[in-house]
Every structure is written in structure tokens, then in C-alpha cells.
Symmetry: D2
Subunit: 328 residues, 4 copies
């Protein structure tokens, strides 16, 4: 299957190419970039040298010639090309925020008008597999909402309050230098940011509601001095106390058939580079601590996008995504 | 004033010596260690080379000849010598857990009998200055309870639930190699530990109660890939919503006269190596996020111990403790 | 092909299993450990959870039932079982130092007698492919000698002096906690170790001689605050000055047919997790700086071991080894 | 003494203010910045909050009212104001490169004309104390040349070749975000840069010549994933072999009276935040490995600048500079 990556110069673009090299049915035929037209992909992504001869091209969506597309562009840019791709019959996973939320919530959260809205499946396959399977367009979830939602999902409907305290690696801020990503501000350091105002909270609330829960949701992200990974500590306040055996059994059962969700004490290292989400849970009665770990660029972005592609196109769900992480 | 450091080979011992080198009235005359008798201090603490000629001695408490002592030994070891020091008229700050809690809480929390109990002031000077001033023996608080309590104190009595989500540097685990401190398990990694069972929770609860609050307290610590520092994110659920202006004013007023508590967005880097606790607060109505940052070895241990010593002995409270941190 | 990993609890054992999961013809049927008999592999290597059901067994070499074995045991332990494996017709790659050096050099360097010596190919395929191909037993090179030798090989015979200044990640010291691997001694730190006495120098000298060079060789390793990777800066003093064009062409030609050696400015990140060795060179006339980067656990150990296995068994040389690194 | 810091918004400016807070005779009265006029210093340097009320001012050199000035501006900017400060009788330490080299070498190395040249002492006090003492203007050395020269100085005249292989923390690149300082390019990574072309080599050669040596000098810097510190491994090839006892004695004697040079195995951690340079040496006959560690922002910049100020103004040489580093 021929694949185009639209906006391929960033970390998620590089990660899509890295992972698709291992996919038995995927052939990346186009990597677009406005600024890098003519530049070999391996010049920007040196880890891919020797494995790809692709060259960035500044191709418009109307000129893309492929069976499938990944949109790895900023929000508001995706909505401008989604329709064109659909008209041309190119199935698409959109990694931007443009189709993740209900229209009114999107416009309020991002402070812009949505000029090309339609409903799309929200691509956490573990929760929405049936909608994703066979879809022509899927909205790929945000990195924080993926880890947070998978941490809390089994218990959401038993809770009155869920506080997501998340810690992310720096790659979540992209590969453009800024004060946020300046080594002197991050190395051997740690801090909270957007303490109560991060946009991803809207996705978290939407998913909690879809799980049949009325729990109040809160979210505070933090910045870790690591490249990759998000560990989310979900502090879940229950309506009625539950014992450890009970909550653990609930999680084991909820994820029993999910290859990409493993029940074990999460660390960033065990999932780094992989599409796994490690989850575990510990109860102290009325509060349960549920912790998840994902690689923000894989299960939190490009890996989950490929998992969605696999479902949309009838491939094995884990095709190209079975690699183990590295430890250490 | 002549000072003995009992148990001087660890990180807190080294930090006491580092800081006391800058104290105008302090002269460290003894550094004890069971295992390192005869070894120069600078062999274990190479950053002190050229600044001290002290040699570790395996001196028993009954043979200590000093005006003041710091107990930097494990819990249960401190209670065995506290009485001896008192009899000899040596004022003491105990950095262990032995005198921080009410006797029954201590015995339940640490699973041991307390064989030499007495009440001691709990040495967070910002909250208990009057009790510390002039005392002969002070219990120095745990690292997590110091940062957590200073984060939540101004709001405690307005809250029904306080969840402390703390992230600590590795030095909190001491300078003896272990799986916990093994670089391959920590470097470029992140994880939660003792999700619901850390002993420091008992101190946090005790302090919240002393602040006149009936809030339920919860605590989950995490391990950062950094050497020093604790950042605590206190998720405070209020009885009645409060606006940002109101909570910020509350904090500004509460700490207005405190040199060591600074109101600014906390990062580990800005307090590293110092006795400062940086605090700030952000409200979203019914939840307030209060964040604090301390250096776990300074305000979380040795620095606060010296601050207590200063109060006990009538020195300026900031004597020896005015150094700025390093950034970056 | 059925494979046994003898000594599978360490980092190189874990890495062999990680990489062999991606090999089309390899089936790991045994993972031995003296201490962990009965423990699931995924308990020690949590990144492999969900991907393997192997359990560690304390199996003696005489009871190994496999077509191929990797010896991932300490030096002196390998020589005790190499003969047994050979008698049983089990082809073997030995990751220890026992068969890398001439007997007298080995005994002098390691200060022990070699009780079961025989000659074995030295498994850097880029330099000794013909000897490795079809061999029944191959000595896998040390991590430092692999990177250093590949950096200097094209220029060795033109040089009178080669100084290898190498910087390694902490995983080279293994997964047993020690002062060397203690986070407090490594994190945000950097130092040299074994300044003139590291045993790997003997391998480097042997390879330089085999390249027809009489250059004097020196070696100083350093410890980086990273998990993986070795970057070697080879300072090469030439008999006659050479221009940049000339040395660069020399390197390009020398490695033109080598899939695993890429000519680009090396960084640890671009090779992390992979079997690639990135190399580049810069001349200032009489001194040339040649720099290489490898992952010490892959091209420096387990990956090169599989590359050797592929040659020994007639598989494609890159089978199981084509994964890209991760960046960031 | 009233002090002005010209160009105070960067890391070296911040470091000057941090260190001068501990100086018994120094009073920083002006901190200039073109871009930050009116901004409190503590907004840019949050570690100084509570310790200084200074506000950045965009003051021209001709309007500076102070007894002493530190020039912490880029090269070519310093030469434009040095004369003005001299005319106004303001003693000055220049942290830029403008007065470190002979005029012709400077112009060739930096590719610019020097429009206001005069000779100034080169401020490594351990080597040029007599010239610095009482001078009105001192050129503060580069960070790499300081550590490298102190590593090799005792042996320089016995050597025919000196190769400086240096590894620096990221703060050497300043506090402006760039690809070089982007966390994703540095974190958990390592690389060489300017392999044969770093400008600091010119200072190193100049100092080696002043030491009476004709040794050829080479220099390759590398970038560490740490904030601070430079470790230089000087590979010194001797004219005649020397034994370990001999070289060690040479170093011990050479630095016997130097408070800021300590003979011990260097690590970055032991000198971090301090003005110390730790040095040690190991011989293998014809090659000697001499290693030094400094904090690039202290002994490599602001600390040495204050040490020079102390000598120029008749203060104790270690005034304000006796703080120990932090370990860990």
C-alpha cells in the first residue's frame, strides 16, 4: 500500500517513517515538507540513513498520489486538506487536533473556527475499535489523552473525581528550538506547565463521558528531562471504596484481549520506542492510583496512527508494531 | 560554636559540612562514621577537598565533645543516642524520623517500638518557629513533608481533599548503590514508587491537622532522573470555590515575612543547592494546584536542620544559608 | 533455528532476546541463569513482556538442546563451556573476552591462565567476514574495540600514532548496582576511568597490527551520563599529511559495501538501539580526527553477535538487524 | 566597591551576580542589557529572587557609574567600549575574546579587524598572577583554554605533542535557544563538534608557547548532556618517557601553592558551581594522560573573572570564591 506522510519533517513524521520501515504492507512514497523541498529525508532524520532514499517534496494535497495519508501538520492546517484527500479517495489518519473533539468544544478549546467539520472516529482502538475498523478518516488522539484515558478507563464509571497528573518527555514540544526545549531550562530540572489550562483536558473529559462516567476531570502536565515518554498518575476518587483485588481484576479483565496494553508497573523505559501502554493500579480504599506509561511519539502519536491504519485497511492490528522497547 | 555531625558519610552529612563551611559561627569539630574511621572526609566528599581537613572518627555519642550535634543516622539509631546527647547538654537536631511523629503513629508507621520517646518540636520553622526557638532538641522533618506541607499550608483549612503528587531526585535514596539508584534503572526514565504506602504520609497528615484542617490527605511519590530536588504538585479540592486572585493573595500574605519561601513558579533548578522553597498557586475554581520546589538535601534535610540550629542557638535564621542556587 | 542464550539475565542477554524477536529464522528456546531459575524472563526484562513466555532455567552446557548458542557469561566462565558446546555440535558466538586475543596476550591482559585455548575468528565482519562465514565458533569483540577499530581502520596503515579517546554509556558496566553505576556518581556528571590501563586496548592493538599498521596505540575511556552508546574520537597522527578530500574518499571507499557502517557525522542518538556504526573523518593535515558511534549493547555486543551468527549460518547478514534507531 | 556588569542577561552575567552576592567587598550597582531595560534581574535569573532587587538597564558605557566593570558581551562588542571604560578610570575584566590573543592571531582567528587593540594580561592567575595583580584591564580566558592549559602546564615543555580532547556542558552555548541547545539534540546524546576548527585552539597554542614549549597542539571539543562543566583529557606525548612518580610529583609541586587547583581525580560534579580546577595525571611512559575538570561558567568564566578582579583590586584572591561544589 502506498503511503504519503504530509508534514514529515517533525518528530511524528520521522517516527511514522521509522515504524513503517518495519511494516510488511506499507510503502512510504511521499514525504512532504514546505521548507525542505529537495532535501533528503536522512539529512533531517539521520537515524534513517541507509534505510530510506526518500526526499522531501513540497507537494500540495491535491497532487498527492497514494492510497493512504498521514496528516502530521499543526491544527487548523489539517482541516484545510482533509476534504481534498477524501475526495481523492485517500484514506487518512489525522494526527492533529482538528477532528478529535465535537465542533463546539474544538472551537472553544482552540479559539478558532472549524471551517470543514465532520465527525470522525476517535482513534484509541482499545476503546473505539469498531468505529475505527473500516473508517476512511480517523482522528488520532492527543498524547496525554491516550495515556490518561487508558489509565482510568476501567474505573471511570465508579469515580466521582479523576485527577490526571502527567509527566512528559521533551519531544512532545516538537523539534523546533524554543525556550521550552532549551537544554539549560530542562536538563537536570523539572517543572509543571499549563497547570490548569492544557487543551488536552477537553479530550480527556470527552472520553470519560463516553465511558459512561460523570466524574469531574482535572489535568496538570509536567516536563521531564527525558526525550520520550509520558507517565500519567491518575488519582481516582471512588464513589464507593474498592479493594486491591477488585480493582486489579477489573483492569486485568478490561485489557485481557489487548495486545498493546500490558498490566505491569509502568516505567518510561519499558515502553520507549514501542506502541505498548503499560498500566497498573493500586487501591487504598476510596482513592485508587492508576498509572500508565506510553511513548508519546508512538502510542501517543505515530504508532497509534499506524494501529488505526491497520484497522482501517484490514491489516493485522499489530503489523509493523511488534518491536520491543529498549532497556536500558 | 563547636559542632559534631553523627553519621557524616552520607549525602546529608556531606551537605551539612558543605553548608556549615559558610556559617559565620559554626565550627565542625567531629564527623563520625562507623565504617570510615581514619578516612579523610574529602576522600568520600571530594567536593570538600581543600576546604576541610576533617577525618571520620568512630566516636560513640558518650564521647562526643561539642556544643551542638546533628544526628544524620537512620531511624531507630537516633533514639539510641538522643538521651545521651541531652544528658551531656548537647543541643541536637535529629534528621531521622524518630521524633517527628506522635509515639503511636511512629510505631505504627515504622513498625518498631520507640524505646526512648519524648516530644520534640517539628522543625519547619515557617510553621513552628516559636517552638523551635530556644529548644534543646528538634526533629527535622522528612524531605517530602517539608515541600508538600509548605505547598498546601495556606489553603489546608479550606480544603476537603489534598493529593500530594511528588517527584524527587535520586539523592533521596542515599549514597549506597542499590537497584533503586542504578543508573540503568533511572537514567532517561521515570516511575512512581510506594504508590499509596510511603511513610512520609504520616507527617503530612499530622501537619495538615495542626493547620486546623480536616482534609483527607493522599500521597504518591515518583523518581526523577535528576540528582537533587523535590517538586510537589498539591491538588487541593476546596470546600468552596476560590478565585485566582484570592488564593494568590492568601499565599503572598501567608509567606510575606518568610525569607526562605519565595512566591514564584517553581522549578528544581532555581532552588538547587539552596534552602529556598519556591511556591506558587493556580486556581480553577474548586481545584487549586499548588506547586512547591525544594532541594531535598537542603530545605528537605541539612539546610533546614541548620535553619533550626540557628533558631535554637540565637543566630540569624539565615546564617550560612543565603547562597543562591545555580542556574543552569 | 533453535537458539540458547547462556547467561541471559544481563543487559547483553536481554538485548539478544530483544533483537532475535525480529529475526525471521531464530527461535530462542533457552535462556539460562544460575540465580533466576524459574523466573519469567519478562520479570527481569519488562520491555519484553507480552513478546516472550520464556522462563530462566539453570541449565548446564551439557544439557543445552539447541542449534546455536550465545555465550553471555563473564570471561573465564566462557572457556569452561566452549568445548562442551563444540562437542555437541552447537555453533557458538562467545561474547566474553576468552577467545578474542592470542593466548599469551589474553593471559597477560586478564591475569589468568587460559585452560581451553583455541583460535577463533575475531568477529568484526567488516574486517574479517571470510573467517567468520561458516565458522563454528566466533569470538565477539569488545564494545570499545569495535567502535575504535572501525573508526581508524581505513587510515591505520598511514599512521604512526593512534589515540582512542572513548566515551561510553553506563550500560557497559552491566545491570548489577555498584558505585560505578550509582546515579549519584554518574548523573549530570562525567569522568575518565582506567586512564591508561583498560583491557580492551589489547584488542585494539591486535586489530591495528592485523591492518598492517605499526602505529602506536593508546586508549582512555570515559563514562557518560547516558544509558547506551560509545562515541570514540580517534586522534590519528599521520606519517604524511593528507587532505580532507583524500581521507574522506578513503573512508567512503573502505566502507562502500558495508550496510552497517554509514558515513555521516556520528551522534549516539542516531545509532541507539541499532547495529549501525556511524563514522566520519576530518583532516587538519598531519592529524586526522576520525569519530565513530555505536550502540555498545548492539554493534558493541549483541547485535554484532547476531550479525556473526547470520554469517556463520548462511542467513542474510542483516537479518533481524534492520531496525532504525530512535531520534530523539 | 561598586561594580557594573555590562551584558548581564546571559549565563555568565547571572553567574557573576550569583558569586558576587557572596563577596565581602563587592556591590553590584548596575546590570545592563539592551533588550531587557526595566526588567527585574530575578525575572531572568529566578535563582536570584529574594537576593537582589537589581533591574536591567540599557546603559551606555559612557554612562556607567562604577569602580569596576565586567564585560560580558560578545567578541567585537567588547572592543567598542573598553576604551571608554578605561578613560573613565573603571578597572575592567573582559570576558570576551577581544583581548586574549595577539592582534594578528585574533584577526585571523575571528575573521574581523581589531579596531581598538592594546595588550592585556591573560587572566589565568595560576600562570600570570604578577601581570594580573594591579592591572587596570584583564582579558579573561576562554573556558576550554583555562581547563586545557591547567591540565598540561606542568608537562608542556617536556612534550612534543599535546592533544586536548574536551567535553563540555551545554551552558557553554549560552542561554539563547538554538539547534545546538535543543534538548532533543543533546539529551541522552553525545557528539563532537568543530572537530579541528574551534577558535579556542589559538589561546591554547599561545599559552603552550608561553610555557616554553614547542609542542604541537590539537583540540577537539565534544558536547555532553549536562548543564555545566568541562572535562579535558590532555593526551601528552613526551620527548622522553617519565614515570608516574615523577609526573605526579611535578604536578603536586607546580600547583602546591594554588588554592583553586586541587590534585585529585577530576569529575565534573566535584567542581560544579565552584572556582576549583581539579587535576590529576597518569603516565604510561611516553604518553601521559592529564585530566582537568572545571565549571565552565565559574573557573571557565565568571569565577576566574572575579579571581582576577580580586588580584587587580587587592582583595584576598579567594574572596567570594570559597564555596564548595555540590555532590551529588
Amino acid at each position: 500500500m502506498e503511503i504519503a506522510i504530509i508534514g514529515a519533517s517533525g518528530y511524528t513524521g520521522g517516527e511514522l517513517m521509522r515504524l513503517l520501515l518495519q511494516h510488511p504492507s506499507a510503502d512510504v512514497v511521499a514525504a512532504t515538507s514546505r521548507k525542505l523541498d529537495g532535501t533528503p529525508v536522512a539529512s533531517v532524520h539521520p537515524h534513517l540513513r541507509g534505510l530510506t532514499d526518500l526526499v522531501f517534496r513540497n507537494t500540495e494535497a491535491g497532487d498527492i498520489d497514494a492510497d493512504f495519508a498521514f496528516l502530521a501538520v499543526p491544527h487548523t492546517a489539517a482541516m484545510k486538506v482533509a476534504g481534498t484527500l477524501a475526495e481523492r479517495g485517500i484514506k487518512t489518519v489525522d494526527l492533529s487536533a482538528d477532528y478529535r473533539l465535537a465542533k463546539d468544544i474544538y472551537e472553544k478549546t482552540y479559539g478558532v473556527s472549524h471551517t470543514a467539520y465532520f465527525e470522525a472516529p476517535y482513534g484509541i482502538p482499545e476503546l473505539h475499535r469498531d468505529e475505527v475498523r473500516g473508517a476512511a478518516f480517523v482522528a488520532n488522539p492527543g498524547c496525554f489523552p491516550t495515556g490518561a484515558t487508558l489509565a482510568a478507563a476501567p474505573l471511570a464509571k465508579f469515580a466521582h473525581t479523576i485527577i490526571y497528573d502527567s509527566k512528559t518527555g521533551v519531544s512532545g514540544a516538537g523539534n523546533t528550538p524554543s525556550a521550552t526545549t532549551h537544554y539549560g531550562n530542562v536538563g537536570d530540572n523539572f517543572s509543571a506547565y499549563k497547570w490548569t489550562t492544557h487543551r488536552h483536558l477537553a479530550e480527556m473529559k470527552q472520553e470519560v463521558a463516553r465511558l459512561g462516567s460523570t466524574a469531574r476531570c482535572y489535568f496538570t502536565p509536567h516536563l521531564l528531562p527525558v526525550n520520550r515518554g509520558i507517565l500519567t498518575t491518575a488519582h481516582i476518587l471512588l464513589n464507593e471504596p474498592m479493594e486491591q483485588d477488585e480493582v486489579e481484576a477489573l483492569y486485568q479483565k478490561f485489557y485481557a484481549d489487548e495486545f498493546f496494553v500490558r498490566y505491569q508497573r509502568p516505567t518510561l523505559a519499558a515502553v520507549r520506542g514501542t506502541n505498548f501502554c503499560d498500566v497498573a493500579v493500586e487501591s487504598e480504599g476510596d482513592r485508587v492510583v492508576a498509572v500508565s506509561a506510553i511513548d508519546n511519539l508512538v502510542k501517543g502519536a505515530s504508532g497509534q496512527a499506524i494501529q488505526n491504519m491497520n484497522l482501517m485497511c484490514g491489516f493485522a492490528e499489530d503489523a509493523g508494531l511488534r518491536s520491543a522497547g529498549m532497556l536500558p
